[in-house]
């Protein structure tokens, strides 16, 4: 077993993991942060996306041991300090950017990264950035719309 220590959503977290334990399993099973989902187990769906040292990473693609000493952010750490939804989460709610909601944590984590580097992305840039995130409900239009709205742009041109 390997001892790991990391910062998760601003708080210190530690645990003992097997060499094969994936970061997503450590977050879900050891830290009980079940907002990060496992949608496919094969690094295709992006439902497990978290931020590792400020970069969006599929948490099923790295071992927990490799995330030792890292700064991790998950969907549980995205709300505003007063507990209200952050502006991207709020936009997903306002524009119905989810159906079953299973992929939403990953979508939000990717959107947060996108808007940090590109505060006013075009529709094409958003769709390109979401390339690694699959929505099994196929609710892509409203996800794109939510991210457009979160960036303060007009959404009327996006298909319903």
């Amino acid at each position: 077993m390997i001892n790991v220590k990391m910062t998760v959503n601003g708080k210190p977290a530690s645990g003992s993991v097997e060499g094969r334990t994936l970061l997503v399993d450590f977050l879900r099973n050891s830290l009980n942060l079940t907002g990060t989902h496992v949608g496919c187990d094969t690094s295709q769906c992006g439902a497990c996306t978290v931020h590792v040292n400020s970069k969006a990473v599929k948490a099923c693609t790295i071992f927990a041991a490799d995330a030792d000493k890292s700064d991790i952010k998950t969907i549980e750490g995205q709300a505003n300090k007063d507990g209200s939804l952050n502006f991207i989460q709020q936009a997903f709610q306002d524009y119905h950017g989810l159906q079953c909601g299973f992929c939403t944590p990953g979508m939000v984590m990717v959107a947060v990264e996108l808007l940090k580097s590109n505060p006013k992305p075009t529709e094409a840039e958003i769709r390109n950035y979401l390339d690694g995130n699959i929505c099994r409900c196929t609710g892509y239009h409203n996800i794109v719309k939510s991210i457009m709205a979160a960036s303060g742009q007009d959404v009327s041109a996006i298909a319903a």
Partner: protein, 146 residues
């Protein structure tokens, strides 16, 4: 937030986990599933194969339809775990129940399995050709209804 509770997010005291052994061939005869080594592994609670469900009727089709001439569709048995034959890549032929997901998966890997690969059909046209491999032998055709 992230506080939604999907099935996989539920964690109960003494919760157990299932893992499945799945076919890597499209059509095959199951020759051997030896669980001797797997069942001795830590925290393995049960191992099932199709043989354990011989008296269980298969998964029923939810929506039975008739052919144009009124004849009812042919409904295969569709056992809960493959019996004798595997019929598609991913067809489950064994299940392990264990105390953790990892232990269940490890036990699946430890099963000693022999499956003889059989000819398979991989497109609609050849599926209908007489003499080609049948998905369900007891139905004698690959056409469910017309």
């Amino acid at each position: 937030m992230g506080l939604g509770q999907y099935t996989d997010d539920i964690s109960l005291t003494r919760q157990t986990f299932a893992a499945f052994a799945r076919s890597t061939v499209a059509n095959g005869q199951i020759k051997k599933i030896d669980a001797l080594r797997a069942e001795k592994m830590p925290s393995i609670l049960a191992i099932f194969t199709g043989e354990d469900f011989l008296d269980v009727v298969g998964n029923p089709a939810g929506w039975l339809i008739n052919s144009r001439d009124g004849e009812p569709m042919k409904e295969p048995k569709r056992p809960v775990l493959a019996q004798g034959k595997v019929r598609h890549v991913g067809d489950a032929f064994a299940a392990v129940i264990a105390e953790t997901e990892e232990q269940a998966r490890d036990a699946i890997d430890a099963l000693d399995v022999e499956i003889d690969k059989l000819p398979a059909v991989i497109d609609m046209k050849s599926a209908l050709k007489p003499g080609n491999a049948l998905v369900h032998d007891e139905i004698e055709t690959n056409q469910c209804f017309d």
